[in-house]
Symmetry: C2
Subunit: 358 residues, 2 copies
C-alpha cells in the first residue's frame, strides 16, 4: 500500500490529542519543544495533559459535535489510547488527518482482529488462539490448544484486567463467568523466558525508525521496569515490528510486545498503536525520545536518531512509590518524570524515573 | 546571613512565574516534569510560557492588584527576567515566598549597585568602573580609567543595547547623547581572551550546585553559541559564582558572566538572577538541567547532579535561522528546542539547538 504523503507540519501548527492522561501529557511536552501547540480532548477538566496544553475541550468521546469542533481547530489529530470509539475517530478524521489511522485502531481494539491481522496479513508469529463466544466454544478451544491457556476479553483489557489463566478443567466455569458474556479469545499459554518489546515509528513519508529491544518486568500485572538495550535478537524484533507497521501503512509510534521463548524466538503478544510505557526510558537516553518521535512521524518531519547513548532503566512510580521522591531526587543519573495527578491511589501510575545504567 | 529554610514543596503545588518568554516556558516544562503546576504572569495573552502553563494572568507588571491576586494563587513565586519592577516583586513577595529575593533583583537591575556589591561585599573582581551622571562626570571618569572604555546605562540594557564603546575623546559627546541622560556607568575596557560564564544554584536549604565553565560566542551582540565543558579554571569560576550567591543568601539559579583575561584570570562582567541562555545546553547533557535545577532550588528539593555526561554546544536560532530546521531535524546528536513564538523577526530568539559534541 502506498504511504500517505503530506508536507511537513510547520511549527505553530496545532496538534489535537484524544485523551489527556500521562501519555498525552508527555506527547504535549515533546510537541511544545518542536514549537507545536496542542489541543487536548478529554472528558475531565485539567487532565494531566491539559495542564500543559494551550487548548482543551472537555466532552464525552461520544459527543460527536464536540469531537468535530475540536478536530476543526487542529492541523492533525492523534490519540494516546487505543480504545477511542470508532465513530469518534471517524469524526475527527473527517476534519483533520488522523494518525495513526482508523485501521490501526480497528486492529488494536479487538484481540481477535489483532491476532488474525498479525498472523495472516502481516505474517508475523503470534501464540495459537481461538475465538470464544460461549462456554461451549471455550471447551472446544481448550481441546484444540490444551491447558494451561489464557482466556482474554476481546476488547478493553489492560494491566492484566479481563484475563483469566486456566490450568485445569475446573477453571472453565469460573473463567467464563469472569468474562461476563463478553466476546473472548483463548490463547495457548506460552512458556516464555522474558517479555520484551520494540518501540518503532513510521512517518507520513514512510521513513522508519526503531529503538533497541526492551526487557519488561511486571509487578501485580503492571509494568514495573523496562530496560534497554538488552540481550536478544534486536534485528529480528525490529524487523517484525516494521513488518506490522508496513502492513498497516502505519503512521506514528507503535509498540510491539513479544514473548521471548526459551530458544530466543519471538511471538507477538500484542501491539499498541501509540507511545508506550515501555518506551519512557528514551526520554533520557541521549536520542530523540518516543514522544518526539511520534510527533515527528505524524508531522511528516525527519524522524531523527533513535540510537541511545546509554543503557537505561525505567521504573514506574505506582501509588505510594511517589513518597520515595526525596531519595530519587538525590540519586545520580536518575531522572524524575511526574504526571501531575492530584490523588495518590493504589495501582495508579503517578510518574516514573529513568536511570542511566551504563 | 542565615539561609531561608522551608519544607520541600510538594508535587501538585503551584509555582508562579513573572514573565512569559522562553525562559519562563522552559521553567514551566521542567516544573511540569516534577509534578508542579505553573501560573504565568505576563502582560500578553498566550505568551510562550503560558502556552504550556495551567494558569495565566494577563496584566501590566504595575497592576499591583493583579500581581497580588496572582501571587495569592501560588505557593512560591519566581521570575524569568531581572527587570521586574521592585514594587511588583515586593507585592508578590508579600503573598508568597519570592525566589530569588528582592535583594538579588535590586543588585541585578542597576549596574552601579551590581558592581559595588560584587566588588565590595562579595569581594569578587570586576572591571574598574565609575558612576557617570553627566558629560562632565564622563570626562572625569575617562581621566581615571583611560580609553578605550565602555559607557553603559545603569538600567535595562541587554544584548548590547544601551552600550557605547569610547575609543577617543571625540566619542564623548555622541556616547553621552546615546545615553539620553539616563544614569550610566563607565567601565574600563577589558582586553579579554574569551567570554565565559558559570551557571550555579543555591537552594532554600543552602545547598550549592554548579555546572562546568561555559565558553560563549556572540554575533551582532547576541549570544550565538555556548560550549561546555571548556578549557579554563572551572574551580575558580565556580568559587567566585558561589561567593556571590552566598553573599546574597541567594535562592535559585544564577548566571555569572566573566571576562577571561589573557593570563587566564577572571573578572565578572555581570550577573543574571535567573536561568540564562548560556545554560540551555544542560537540557541534553545527561544531568539535571538548569531549568529543573532552578525549580528544585526554589522548591527546597535536593539539587541533584550537575556533572554533564557529554561535551555540549548550544546554538541560538535567531530570526530566519529557524528555516534550517529540516537540516537540524536529520542531524545526529542534535536536539531541537523551539519557543512557540508566532512571528519570525530579525534578531528574535526563536529557539535553539543543543549538540552533543563528544
Amino acid at each position: 500500500m502506498p504511504s500517505t504523503h503530506q508536507s511537513p507540519l510547520q511549527p505553530g501548527s496545532t496538534i489535537g490529542i484524544l485523551g489527556g492522561g500521562q501519555l498525552g501529557r508527555m506527547l504535549n511536552l515533546a510537541a511544545a519543544r518542536l514549537g507545536f501547540h496542542c489541543h487536548i480532548f478529554d472528558p475531565e477538566w485539567a487532565s494531566p495533559a491539559a495542564k500543559v496544553a494551550q487548548f482543551e475541550t472537555n466532552a464525552k468521546y461520544e459527543d460527536i459535535n464536540a469531537v468535530l469542533n475540536f478536530a476543526k481547530t487542529c492541523d492533525i489529530v492523534t490519540y494516546e489510547f487505543e480504545n477511542v470509539p470508532s465513530l469518534t475517530a471517524k469524526t475527527a478524521g473527517s476534519a483533520a488527518p488522523l494518525h495513526p489511522g482508523a485501521r490501526a485502531l480497528n486492529v488494536a481494539q479487538d484481540r481477535l482482529t489483532e491476532k488474525n491481522f498479525i498472523q495472516n496479513e502481516a505474517k508475523v508469529p503470534v501464540a495459537l488462539f481461538q475465538s470464544v463466544d460461549s462456554v461451549h466454544e471455550l471447551r472446544r478451544a481448550i481441546k484444540k490448544l490444551g491447558l494451561p491457556a489464557v482466556l482474554k476479553t476481546r476488547r478493553m483489557g489492560y494491566d492484566g484486567k479481563g484475563q483469566f489463566i486456566l490450568n485445569s478443567e475446573e477453571d472453565i466455569e469460573p473463567a467464563w463467568a469472569a468474562m461476563q458474556n463478553a466476546p473472548a479469545i483463548l490463547e495457548q499459554f506460552v512458556d516464555f523466558k522474558r517479555e520484551v518489546s520494540v518501540i518503532a515509528a513510521r512517518s507520513t513519508t514512510g521513513e522508519i525508525a526503531a529503538y533497541p529491544l526492551i526487557e519488561n518486568q511486571h509487578k501485580n500485572h503492571i509494568l514495573h521496569t523496562s530496560t534497554s538495550p538488552t540481550t536478544g535478537d534486536d534485528g529480528r524484533a525490529q524487523a517484525l515490528a516494521i513488518q506490522i507497521m508496513n502492513s498497516l501503512s502505519y503512521v506514528g509510534v507503535m509498540a510491539t510486545e513479544f514473548f521471548e521463548l526459551h530458544d530466543g524466538s519471538l511471538v507477538v503478544n500484542e501491539i499498541a498503536p501509540r507511545v508506550h510505557n515501555s518506551g519512557h526510558w528514551t526520554q533520557n537516553a541521549g536520542c530523540v525520545d518516543q514522544f518526539e518521535l511520534h510527533i515527528r512521524a505524524i508531522a511528516g518531519w525527519p524522524l531523527g536518531k533513535t540510537q541511545p547513548k546509554h543503557k537505561m532503566q525505567m521504573t514506574n512510580l505506582i501509588g505510594n512509590d511517589i513518597n520515595s521522591l526525596p531519595i530519587y531526587a538525590k540519586e545520580k543519573d536518575c531522572f524524575i518524570h511526574l504526571y501531575g495527578k492530584k490523588d495518590i491511589k493504589a495501582g495508579r501510575k503517578m510518574g516514573h524515573i529513568n536511570r542511566i545504567i551504563v
